[in-house]
Symmetry: C2
Subunit: 390 residues, 2 copies
C-alpha cells in the first residue's frame, strides 16, 4: 500500500523507480506478445499525440480545429468503410463504440424490446454493454466456418429483439459473420443492425485491395446502421483510439446529452466520455493522412505474409492443427491429441504471451511481429508439442 | 468531406497542415481559457505519458508493472481521500467514474429500485449515466448556499430509490453538498451513496492542509460508498485520467466482466473500457510521486490566491456581483442590473472563454491562469459592464 508522500521525489528519482518497475512488463518489440490485438504505436503517431496532449474534444468550442480534425478522421474512416458521410467519433476503444451502438439501438426503439441477438463469438464488451444498458444478449451458435449460423439467428429474432450484432473479424478466429444475410433479417424485422469490425475494419478493406476475396461487411450492406472500427488495433494509433460510425445523424443523436455550460459554448455530447482526448483523434487523423491506403495496405500485406508463414509452420508440426483457415492475421492452433491448455501453459512458461480460448491457442500476427519471432515461436511450439506428445 | 487518400503525405506535409489548422484552437498558455476544469498538463506528466504510450491496462498479465502502478496510484488517491485501502481504477474521466458508481449501485441493489437522488447542481454526466443505465435521476433543489437541500433530499428518497449522489465541488459554483447529512439518510435507508468529487477531490484535501475550513466529504464519512476524483482536472495529468474509488472490493466486483482469452491470461474488467491507457495511470502515479502533498498544496494555494484577487476585483465593479462566496477556485459572476448572457457574449467576442450558466458566468481559476490574465480579464469585464450598463 503506497500513500501520498508529504514531500514529492525529484523527477529523476521517480523515473529511476519507474524504469526499474517497468522491466517486469512485456514489450511489443521483444516479439513475445503474440496474443494481443494491440501493437506498438507508429512513431509518427507518438509524435503527433505528444504535441496535442492538451486538446479536449469534450469542449469543442475551445478546440474547434481538433474537433474538425476528428470529423475529418471520421470522414476518412467512413470512406474506408464505404460511407464517407458517416457520423461518428474517435472514441476510447471498441468497448465504448459497441456500447454507443447498442445504446442508440435501445433509445431509437422506444419500446420494451430488450434482446440483442449476437453470435457466441461476439466480444465480451457486448456482454458488458448489455449489462450496462439493461439489455439481454442472446447468443447464436456458429456454423462450421465459425460464423453466426443464419438459420439459428433467424429463429432467435422475436418481437423482443431490439438489435442484431454481426462481427467482422471475431476476437477468437477473425471470422466474418454473414453480414448480408444478417442485414436482410434486420431489414425484414425493422431492427437495428450493428457490425463490430473493431479488428477487421482496418484489415478487410486492405485485403480486398490486395486481391483477397473479402465479403461485404460495411455500409455497402444496406441494413448496417453502425460499425465499430478501432484505430488502436490494426490502425497503429496509440491507446485510446476506437471508432464508431453511424449511418445517419439521427442514430447518433439518439444518445445525445446536453452540456450547456462549456467555456467554448453549449454543445451536445454523443459519446460516453465527456472530457476526452483530442490527441487521440488528431493522431488518427495524422496517421490516416500520412499512411494513406497504400501505407496500410503495406502493413496488412506484411502481416498476412507472416500469417502464411505461421500457417505453413503449424501444418508441419505433428500433433497440432489449424482451428480453421485464417481469414485475417489471426491464427487458431488446436489439437486432437494434446490438451491445448497444457501447450499454452508451456508456451507461456517459455515467455510467449499467447491467447487461450476454450479449444485453441490464438496468435494475432500484429505489425510488431517479425519473421524471426515467428520462426522462434514455431521452434518452441514444435519442441513443446514433441515434449507433451512424447 | 475528407476521404482516405490512396497515397499518404510525407510526415512534414501532414505536420504543416496540422499546425496551420491548430492555430484556430484556444490554448491554455494564452490565459484566455477561464471556464474549463482542464488545464495544461504538467511537463513531467507529458514526459512520463510519452514513455508509456504502449501500455495497455486492459491486459494486466502483459503489463504487470503498469497494473501495479495503477494500484499504487489508487492507494495514493485513497490516502488523499482518507481510505488508503480503497479499490478502484484510473479511468477515462469523471463521466466513466460516475457511471461506474451508479452501475455498481444498480447491480448491488438487485431489485426494481431505479431512482437516483442528486442535487440540481449535479454534473450532466449523471444524466448520461442514468439514461445509459435505465435509471431515473430525481433532482433536488438547493439551499441558499447552493448545496443540496437536506430536507428536500429526505423527502425525495422513497422505496424506489437506489442511490444518492452528493457533489463535493459542483460544476457551477464549486459548492460542497452536506455529505455527512446525506450519508445519514443513505445509511438509514440502506442506500448506495456516491460522492462526485471530480473537481473537489484534488482541491479540498489541500485546502484543509492550508488551514481552510473544509467539511468532510470523503471516506471519513461512513456512508460514502464511492468517490469520483479526476487527476486530469486539478491533478495536472493529461486527458484521459479520471479516478473512481470504491470503499470495498464487493462494490467494485459488482460491475465485473470476465475476459478469459487475454494474452496475459484471463482476468476480470471492472471499468467500462476494455483496452485502456496504461500511460494515463502511470502518469498519475508519477505526478503523485513527484509532487507529493506539498506540491499539490502549492498549486492549490496559488489558485486560491488568484481566486481572491478575482473576487476582490469583481467586488470593485459596479453592476455585477458574486453569485456566492467561492469555496474553491471557482467563481460565479452575476448581476441584478444586466443581462449576464449579454456580458458573457461580449466577453467571448473579446476572446475570453468563460462558462455561461443560467444566471451567472463561471470562471475556473486553473493552474494555467496567471495574475496578469486575471488583471486583464478584470479590465475587460469592467469595460464590458460599463458599456452594457451605460
Amino acid at each position: 500500500m503506497v500513500k501520498l508522500f508529504e514531500k514529492g521525489l525529484p523527477e529523476k528519482a521517480v523515473l529511476r523507480k519507474l524504469e526499474s518497475k517497468l522491466k517486469q512488463d512485456f514489450t511489443y518489440s521483444s516479439g513475445r506478445i503474440l496474443g494481443s490485438m494491440c501493437t506498438r504505436p507508429h512513431e509518427f503517431a507518438r509524435y503527433v499525440h505528444m504535441k496535442c496532449l492538451e486538446k479536449n474534444l469534450g469542449d469543442p468550442g475551445l478546440f474547434c480545429a481538433a474537433t474538425q480534425l476528428e470529423q475529418e478522421a471520421i470522414g476518412m474512416l467512413g470512406s474506408l468503410l464505404s460511407h464517407p458521410k458517416a457520423y461518428g467519433h474517435i472514441v476510447s476503444g471498441g468497448t465504448e463504440a459497441n456500447i454507443l451502438a447498442l445504446w442508440a439501438a435501445r433509445n431509437l426503439a422506444k419500446n420494451k424490446r430488450h434482446e440483442v441477438v449476437a453470435p457466441v463469438s461476439a466480444h465480451c464488451s457486448l456482454d458488458k454493454a448489455a449489462n450496462l444498458l439493461g439489455l439481454k444478449l442472446i447468443k447464436v451458435k456458429l456454423n462450421d466456418r465459425f460464423q453466426m449460423d443464419i438459420k439459428e439467428a433467424e429463429k432467435t429474432v422475436t418481437e423482443k429483439t431490439v438489435a442484431i450484432v454481426g462481427v467482422a473479424g471475431t476476437t477468437g478466429l477473425g471470422a466474418v459473420d454473414p453480414i448480408h444475410e444478417l442485414s436482410e433479417i434486420a431489414l425484414a424485422h425493422g431492427l437495428y443492425f450493428h457490425v463490430d469490425a473493431a479488428f477487421g475494419g482496418f484489415v478487410l478493406p486492405f485485403l480486398e485491395e490486395l486481391g483477397f476475396n473479402v465479403p461485404d461487411f460495411d455500409f455497402r450492406v444496406p441494413g448496417v446502421c453502425s460499425v465499430t472500427v478501432d484505430p488502436h488495433k490494426m490502425g497503429l494509433a496509440p491507446i485510446p483510439a476506437g471508432g464508431i460510425l453511424f449511418r445517419n445523424e439521427e442514430m447518433m443523436r439518439s444518445i445525445s446529452t446536453s452540456v450547456p455550460y462549456l467555456a467554448g459554448g453549449g454543445t451536445d455530447h454523443t459519446t460516453i466520455l465527456g472530457t476526452r482526448s483530442g490527441a487521440s483523434a488528431i493522431t488518427v487523423w495524422g496517421l490516416l493522412m500520412h499512411l494513406g491506403r497504400q501505407g496500410y495496405r503495406g502493413v496488412v500485406g506484411r502481416c498476412m505474409r507472416l500469417t502464411s508463414k505461421l500457417v505453413e509452420g503449424i501444418r508441419q508440426i505433428n500433433g497440432i492443427s489449424l482451428k480453421t483457415i485464417p481469414t485475417l492475421n489471426i491464427v487458431g492452433i488446436t489439437s486432437n491429441e494434446l490438451d491445448i491448455e497444457l501447450v499454452a501453459g508451456e508456451l507461456r512458461r517459455m515467455g510467449w504471451a499467447v491467447s487461450l480460448f476454450s479449444s485453441y491457442i490464438r496468435v494475432v500476427v500484429m505489425p510488431h511481429v517479425r519473421l524471426s519471432h515467428i520462426e522462434h515461436f514455431l521452434e518452441d511450439l514444435k519442441g513443446t508439442v514433441e515434449k507433451l506428445g512424447g
